[in-house]
């Protein structure tokens, strides 16, 4: 998953997902949050980058449900849903969406509130991405 030398960026993020936490990269120099994790802060270009824990709250910008034509390694996962989530911290990520009560994604809407809900450690070891669930209002 990681190219040589990428571990300082990927390892803390993946390890946190495995523990059920969503991290955001944070610049110690200018104080801004950024995603995805970068080699240098894209605002002040300093390298004092660390991590903060995300609140987990967000809004679903859009989502898609793959039924056919999944990439190799994902054939047995279909159907599965992906969404672009704008986190409360002002950064955004692509993640997987948990099926709703009906086993589908019928309760999901663009601009609906969603919340980070961790996947199992085994799932994250195979596919390290954050999972989100719709917040029923």
């Amino acid at each position: 998953m990681s190219d040589p030398g990428m571990e300082p960026l990927t390892r803390p993020y993946y390890d946190a997902l495995g523990r059920g936490e969503l991290l955001i990269q944070h610049c110690g120099s200018c104080g801004r949050d950024t995603m995805y994790p970068r080699h240098r802060c894209p605002f002040c270009y300093e390298a004092e980058l660390g991590w903060v824990r995300a609140s987990g709250a967000g809004v679903l910008h859009s989502f898609a449900v793959t039924r056919f034509g999944a990439p190799t390694g994902f054939e047995s996962q279909t159907p599965y849903a992906l969404g672009v989530v704008k986190l409360a911290e002002g950064v955004q990520v692509l993640g997987r969406l948990w099926p709703d009560g009906d086993g589908g994604w019928g309760a999901y809407r663009c601009d609906a509130p969603v919340r980070f809900r961790p996947a199992s450690e085994d799932e994250i070891a195979r596919r390290p991405v954050p999972w989100f669930a719709v917040v029923h209002q």
Partner: protein
């Protein structure tokens, strides 16, 4: 730069799009080079610079310094000044033409041959899906989610439908309008196959909300262009095409980092281009805009000012962009019906614009008196929005 130094398109060549397993990659580049040079009324030996648009069907064919092999195949070794490749995915042709125009204006080149060939239609579909999943998507942060290019198209489509209130039937009508144009283009993959909204809606749901027939079919194809300076064009030609304006925005790399999936970089790119050209969307006679999914085209048309905000898909449904409609859009059938020839999809649209403005689009689809075309291209996960405004010039 004086007007004499500006770039002039004087010829285009194209091979039919579709599945042509026995048509070799290098042979296609050579055939389309000859076609473009003959269309331009030039000799091959006039060509001093070759710009190659990359293929996606084979990493080996892309990495093989194939642009110099073309020089040898065309007998230009010892004559050609330079040959190289430019790459920005589906917007490559727009960036290549900017590069060509700069080389001509600064005196670094006199006659430039731009070439593209793709073998996507003959390559194994599963391998191409994996290739597209491995490239243009951040491997550390998004690839593990199972993202595919159809899913990228679906994310954009869902957001566009929510923002515009467009219905599934209105989205499907985009494909139907493009098919009507393709039926008039002998080089289009689907020239012989009519299409209805009901057929699109009845095709299987591949990636909600995208139906199978709203996804582009991978195709083989090849396109070539010859560009020279306006001063040289004036000596040999009565009609040529100039670049009146260009604009662009790179809005993201990762689809998860796009701030508004229903807008992308089009509004800023369009404003820049219209300002340079000194004319606007209302002055366009036709548009040739990247259309790998119906929403991708709809969003671009709105950003380019060619549709009212939120109204592009509904305008398609009302026939506004079909043959006989108020604005001809993607008169070759677009990627969705002429065939998605990889990076070449945008190249084929640009070739169609040049053909239309030269008055050489053939009796069935030539737009009478076409003199201004809005062209748009987009690469990768619609990471950039590139605009070229083309104008026909008569001596």
């Amino acid at each position: 730069m004086s007007d004499a130094d500006e770039a002039a398109f004087i010829g285009v060549g194209e091979l039919p799009s579709g599945r042509h397993p026995n048509r070799p990659f290098m042979g296609s580049l050579v055939d389309v080079a000859v076609a473009a040079v003959r269309d331009a009324g030039r000799s091959m030996s006039d060509i001093d610079t070759i710009l190659l648009i990359p293929c996606l069907h084979s990493p080996a064919d892309q990495a093989d310094l194939v642009f110099s092999r073309v020089v040898e195949e065309l007998g230009l070794n010892g004559r050609a000044k330079a040959s190289y490749m430019i790459h920005s995915g589906g917007s490559t042709s727009d960036n290549t033409m900017r590069t060509a125009a700069g080389l001509i204006a600064s005196g670094h080149a006199r006659n430039i041959l731009v070439l593209q060939a793709e073998k996507w239609g003959s390559a194994p579909v599963d391998e191409m899906i994996d290739m597209l999943t491995a490239n243009g998507i951040p491997r550390e942060w998004e690839k593990p989610s199972g993202l595919s290019f159809n899913a990228v198209g679906a994310l954009i489509t869902r957001r566009y439908m929510a923002a515009s209130g467009s219905t599934a039937a209105e989205m499907a009508s985009v494909c139907v309008a493009l098919r009507a144009w393709a039926r008039l283009n002998p080089n289009a993959m689907y020239k012989d196959k009519p299409l209805t909204v009901d057929q699109v809606l009845a095709s299987k749901m591949v990636c909600d909300p995208l139906h199978a027939l709203e996804c582009p079919m991978l195709a083989d194809g090849a396109v070539g262009f010859v560009l020279t300076s306006a001063a040289l064009a004036r000596r040999s030609h009565d009609r040529w095409v100039r670049i009146a304006g260009s604009g662009g925005r790179v809005s993201h790399y990762s689809i998860g980092q796009e701030r508004d999936l229903a807008v992308l970089g089009w509004p800023e790119a369009a404003a820049e281009a219209y300002e340079q050209a000194g004319w606007g969307a209302d002055d366009a006679d036709l548009a040739e805009v990247y259309d790998s999914y119906p929403a991708v085209l709809s969003i671009a048309l709105e950003g380019l000012g060619l549709a009212k905000p939120g109204e592009a898909a509904r305008t398609f449904a009302a026939g506004g962009y079909s043959p006989g409609g108020r604005l001809p859009v993607n008169t070759n059938g677009g990627l969705l019906s002429a065939g998605h020839t990889g990076v070449g999809g945008g190249t084929a649209l640009l070739a169609e614009a040049v053909r239309q403005l030269l008055g050489r689009a053939g009796p069935d689809r030539q737009i009478p008196g076409a003199s201004r075309a809005v062209c748009g291209g987009s690469g990768g996960t619609y990471m950039d929005s590139q605009v070229l405004l083309l104008e026909g010039v008569t001596r």
